[in-house]
């Protein structure tokens, strides 16, 4: 079975989820939603909460929209848990993973989701805002941010504005269409690259210098993962951001 960046990212995100985890993603998050369904399908035993208020909704029902506020994330739940309560869990140190996104990020893992150009009160481009990230990044046990289009405009030397910043004492990783970074001693370090890219391509698409001359290749999706992915996402929701 073939795979591309969409499948690779869903698989990589799903592998971040461990048994016993409490997992959250926000709105506009079709890749994390699909990764969660995949992890459930692969038999991982974890709890999934989301902004639709569902608690472990029936993952077998395919999503029909990329919106991660839809009834697909609610039906089949045995309980409801609202965003308010999810954030309380996080602030009490009970959230294991949150999947977040960004427009710009620097090597410290600082995220800009607020604006680009001009100044805060008259920006050139007003972005949608960081949603949960300014609180979640510092308080969640493990934060994973995803980006479907890594380039020098997204991974930058200097962000225009710090909407959210990670806590260097907690785990923080970045999964893009090309590779995986992890925060070590307060700086993002390239951990592995996906099988279909090269270290050179990653360097060319990263706004800060990568000095490594060698890097491990991340394990490709297994046949089992790809077949499970096809089953949980027959409508190709995973492709929306690509």
């Amino acid at each position: 079975m073939g795979y591309g960046p969409a499948e690779m990212m869903c698989v990589a995100l799903s592998r971040e989820i461990k048994d016993g985890d409490m997992v959250f993603h926000g709105l506009a998050s079709p890749v994390p939603m699909t990764a969660v369904k995949l992890a459930k399908s692969m038999g991982r035993n974890f709890t999934y909460v989301n902004i639709a208020g569902g608690v472990d909704p029936k993952w077998e029902s395919p999503a029909v929209t990329g919106s991660t506020l839809s009834s697909n994330l609610y039906h089949g739940s045995a309980a409801t848990y609202g965003l308010d309560e999810i954030m309380d869990l996080a602030c009490s140190g009970k959230l294991d993973i949150s999947f977040l996104s960004f427009v710009q990020m620097n090597q410290k893992g600082e995220i800009n989701m607020s604006y680009i150009g001009g100044d805060y009160d008259k920006p050139k481009l007003r972005l949608p805002g960081g949603a949960g990230s300014a609180t979640l990044a510092p308080v969640t046990r493990r934060t994973t941010v995803w980006k479907t289009k890594q380039d020098k405009n997204s991974l930058v030397e200097k962000v225009q504005f710090v909407t959210a910043a990670p806590d260097p004492a907690k785990e923080f990783s970045v999964i893009t269409n090309l590779c995986i970074f992890r925060l070590k001693n307060g700086l993002l370090e390239l951990e592995s690259i996906f099988p279909y890219t090269t270290l050179q391509e990653v360097k060319e698409n990263t706004g800060w210098p990568i000095n490594q001359t060698d890097v491990q290749v991340y394990p490709a999706p297994t046949a089992e993962e790809l077949s499970a992915l096809a089953e949980v996402d027959p409508n190709g929701i995973r492709n929306i951001e690509f």
Partner: protein, 271 residues
């Protein structure tokens, strides 16, 4: 209990210049869209908006130049529907003051408003520049018990919560089916609530299981029958896809400065 059922025109006219509105739903889901179409036509000014994840209904008010401040953590339409053009334009022209917080910052401000207290601590937010740009909303202070440093947010008390629900009775008892988003919180924080409803039902249907009632009648000032009142967006269990054609027409109207024309067409034949 008092009867509060009224036409949309009476309900929208309750809103006054300068008021703080808590707008229900999330992104393109269960917004009081039809209410905001009609409100935008009244040309109210200096409205302030608050909501955790604001979308279409709020954007219509921004596009109509009715808004001068927005408290939010996210403002957009999700995925293929992109950024919210009215809000974006207002900010970029320096007309709208964006008070961005994390989700829980906005939630905490509304909780504090509903609890009758002036401020509340909030988790996280460390190293975020959102703190620096809005000292009127965020402060850092010290716990009097153990000296721990904590970010606090200032309370927000909306003049109105405006939410779209599945079912309401004529007295204002209202029920949302499925995802509540933050709508119950909005009604608890606000001075008064305006309900638009897919259906008007008997009070008896609430008495069968009162635990399913989202808003009790005494919080409500107006109930409006508004079938499909969240369109062009989604309403859980009622209509579950976005009307893409309408969203395109909306974006185009904003680009071309033709919101009035869009609203005239969209609200044609609706009271």
């Amino acid at each position: 209990m008092q009867r509060k059922l009224m036409p949309m025109s009476s309900a929208v006219s309750l809103i006054e210049d300068g008021q703080l509105l808590a707008v229900g739903g999330s992104a393109l889901h269960r917004n009081p869209a039809v209410f905001c179409h009609q409100l935008a036509k009244l040309n109210r000014t200096r409205l302030r908006l608050v909501g955790v994840a604001q979308g279409y209904a709020s954007d219509v008010l921004c596009a109509g130049n009715c808004v001068d401040t927005v408290y939010f953590s996210f403002f957009g339409f999700e995925n293929e529907f992109g950024l919210a053009p009215g809000f974006r334009k207002g900010c970029q022209e320096g007309k709208i003051k964006a008070v961005e917080g994390s989700c829980i910052s906005i939630i905490a401000a509304l909780r504090a408003g509903g609890y009758g207290i002036p401020f509340m601590p909030v988790g996280g937010m460390w190293e975020s520049e959102l703190l620096d740009v809005r000292p009127d909303f965020f402060q850092v202070m010290t716990s009097p018990f153990n000296g721990e440093k904590v970010v606090v947010v200032r309370a927000l008390v909306p003049d109105w919560a405006i939410i779209h629900v599945h079912e309401a009775d004529e007295y204002g008892n209202a029920r949302i089916i499925g995802s509540l988003f933050q709508d119950q919180l909005l009604t608890r924080a606000a001075r008064k609530t305006i309900i638009t409803a897919e259906r008007i039902v008997d009070t008896e249907s609430f008495q069968i299981n009162p635990a399913l009632t989202t808003v009790p009648h005494f919080q409500v000032e107006a109930v409006v029958l508004a079938p499909q009142g969240a369109k062009p967006g989604i309403c859980f269990g009622e209509y579950e896809t976005v009307e893409a054609g309408c969203m395109k027409a909306y974006s185009r109207a904003i680009k071309e400065g033709a919101l009035d024309h869009f609203l005239a067409i969209t609200t044609e034949g609706r009271a």
